[in-house]
């Protein structure tokens, strides 16, 4: 998987992870993959819902040492 851009949203509280992700996503092109790092506990459901609403695909996600990693492919 080619990661086009990484966004560090660790430590940010709702709604900032989504707001920053949206901003980063706007700069990318279709098919690009954005890696997002988040620690907000709501992120798991938030990113799923946000990606679905925008038609984007979460191609992979994982949790390591309390940090959530999302790999979102732009629609």
């Amino acid at each position: 998987m080619n990661i086009t851009q990484t966004l560090d949203a660790k430590g940010l509280a709702c709604p900032m992870p989504i707001v920053k992700t949206k901003k980063a996503m706007d700069t990318l092109s279709t098919g690009d993959v954005l890696e997002v790092l988040a620690t907000d506990k709501g992120a798991l459901n938030d990113f799923k819902a946000w990606a679905t609403a925008g038609g984007h695909t979460i191609v992979d996600q994982k949790e390591e040492a309390g940090v959530l990693y999302f790999y979102i492919q732009k629609a």
């Binding site: 509280a13 709702c14 709604p15 989504i18 707001v19 949206k22």
Partner: protein
Amino acid sequence: MEKKKTTIVLFSGDYDKAMAAYIIANGAAAYDHEVTIFHTFWGINALRKQEPVHVQKGFLEKMFAKMMPRGAEKLGLSNMNMAGMGPKMIKHVMNKHNALTLTQLIDMAQEQDIKLITCTMTMDLLGLQKEELLDGIEYAGVAAYLADAEDGNVNLFI
């Protein structure tokens, strides 16, 4: 694709309720919605400039201006306000959790092109003038709000 719309009426002048409104608004903007916040009654105080502004006012208007909170950071809490202790405590906790203050949320909303509307009828009632409110906000009445709300997908009254 036509954008979805979120419209919020902010009636309350409580810090916590205004925060909730602005968090939802910013989230909705990140959801690619067109977002409108219609401020009426006490909700207008969130948009007051924090510094005093000199404008011509009658006695009652001056009284109102003095008694109402001047700007977002002066708002009280809807619960546990404890004569102003509550807001101090919650801001301390918010800072610890990296949550944005109401002022920062309002800045973020303007940056995300959220339409901030102030109800001109209540402005008159409360004796507030445009010079006392933040720049970049719109002034309108119920019809302008309804125009956005009638094809809205999310509509809240806070």
